[in-house]
């Protein structure tokens, strides 16, 4: 990562000390910490978007759409299971995927802000899905060649499913943008809402830089242009202008979330927190 300053040993040492003062961070091997963070990011992106999509279950405009959204949610939660289980093993503090999903507080989540945004109407949900799945497809294409065999295996498996999500969302963006005045108005509003959270997907920091340098992660800057081109092509087909660039909102990767995530977690975590030993 030429754009980042080199990481000095003293920086690492200071970061380790300050991080362990937090309620969340358990001591982990120094070289595993970035990997743990990286896995949380991947897992939390999928988990939170999967939870969001599942809110549509029983509410979608038609039974086919209901099935689509529920199935995409299932795919995403499946991805999250693999990433969070692995994160728990890397952390080595005895937490499994369930403990990470249901036992962390809002500040400990590392998902991007885009996935936690509220569903709004169907057009807003599809705008979010389109912007995220297009990015996730490009990311997983690269992670399939990760030097970490487990990440590569999950990405290679999941990318086929994500390609479906991307195509489905793109079709809806086109159909809504090219539909009635009302569907177009709603799509434009949905894109406007989500647009400011796109830059975070390409934001580089110490963790992403270290993962890319070690060949485990991928440098998202490498596919920023492809992403912009792909998004603009679909919007053009939908007959919709890309929203004006807005001030980017960042912070999800460091645990600075919008108010929406806390409400989502209340619903998602209520049962296992109230009845910790509950089993199906």
């Amino acid at each position: 990562m030429p754009s980042l300053p080199p990481i000095r040993p003293e920086d690492e040492a200071r970061a380790a000390v300050s991080r362990n003062h937090g309620a969340f961070d358990a001591p982990v091997e120094e070289h595993q910490r970035a990997l743990f963070d990286f896995l949380l990011r991947l897992g939390d992106d999928s988990l939170i978007l999967g939870q969001r999509l599942s809110e549509w279950c029983g509410h979608a405009p038609s039974v086919e759409v209901d099935l689509s959204l529920a199935n995409m949610a299932l795919d995403l939660v499946g991805q999250a299971t693999f990433f969070l289980e692995y994160a728990g093993e890397v952390e080595g503090a005895g937490r499994d995927g369930d403990a990470l999903a249901f036992g962390r507080d809002v500040l400990d989540f590392r998902n991007c802000l885009l996935v936690e945004q509220p569903n709004g109407d169907f057009a807003q949900t599809m705008a979010r899905q389109f912007l995220f799945s297009t990015w996730q497809k490009m990311l997983f294409d690269r992670l399939a060649a990760s030097r970490d065999e487990r990440i590569a295996a999950v990405a290679a498996k999941a990318v086929k499913e994500v390609a479906y999500h991307q195509e489905l969302a793109a079709e809806w963006v086109i159909r809504l943008g090219d539909g009635t005045d009302e569907s177009r108005r709603r799509l434009v509003a949905g894109l406007d809402w989500m647009w400011r959270f796109v830059p975070e997907l390409f934001d580089a920091d110490r963790v992403s830089g270290e993962m890319a340098a070690r060949g485990i992660g991928a440098d998202t800057a490498h596919f920023r242009e492809d992403y912009d081109r792909a998004v603009r092509a679909v919007l053009a087909e939908a007959g919709v202008e890309p929203p004006a660039d807005q001030r980017p909102i960042l912070g999800g990767r460091r645990g600075h979330h919008s108010e929406h995530l806390g409400h989502l977690l209340c619903v998602m975590q209520y049962l296992p927190r109230t009845y910790p030993a509950a089993v199906w």
Binding site: E64, D75, V77, Q79, A152, L168
Partner: protein, 161 residues
């Protein structure tokens, strides 16, 4: 193909391994019970101390049920020593469904995955190729919903994956 590779182990373990494959051929897939887990191609290898399986879809909720069913079948047949391991790589594809499995799917009313060059499945009810997709996602993650233009019956297509 898959089974052929796996059976070629030490000669003295072959009868046991063959018997274990036969046990696995009796374990139905929970979502599509007409198929066995072997037909579906999710049993990757078998040895006296280990059976490796692979999930079809990342989020397939049947994966845990499948593992439990295989465990129960192996235990009942006396193969308690065999561990069950899940492997992801290389990822499962619909090409691993056996030819026999494809026939069983069709007979059950589910169109088998499209083969290269094919753009629309034949209707499993009347055989017409005049079919159209209704929804990319069907009753389970592995299926899409289609409709036949000739007999008007909706049907599931096992998605190419």
């Amino acid at each position: 193909m898959v089974s052929g590779l796996a059976i070629a182990g030490e000669p003295e373990t072959r009868p046991a391994v063959n018997a274990m494959w036969n046990v696995l051929r009796s374990v139905p897939d929970p979502e599509i019970p007409v198929l066995s887990v072997v037909d579906l191609g999710i049993v990757r290898s078998v040895s006296p101390d280990r059976v490796t399986i692979t999930p079809t879809y990342t989020g397939c909720p049947a994966t845990q049920v499948i593992e439990r069913d295989i465990r129960a079948a192996l235990d009942a047949a006396g193969y308690r020593g065999a561990r069950i391991e899940t492997v992801l790589s290389p990822p499962w594809t619909t090409e691993w469904i056996t030819p026999e499995g494809r026939e069983k799917l069709h007979a059950y009313g589910i169109a088998p995955p499209l083969v290269p060059g094919q753009t629309a499945p034949a209707c499993p009810q009347c055989g017409s190729r005049e079919t159209e997709e209704i929804s990319r996602f069907g009753s389970t993650p592995c299926k899409a919903l289609w409709r036949c233009g000739a007999c008007a019956e909706p049907f599931d297509l096992f998605k190419c994956h």
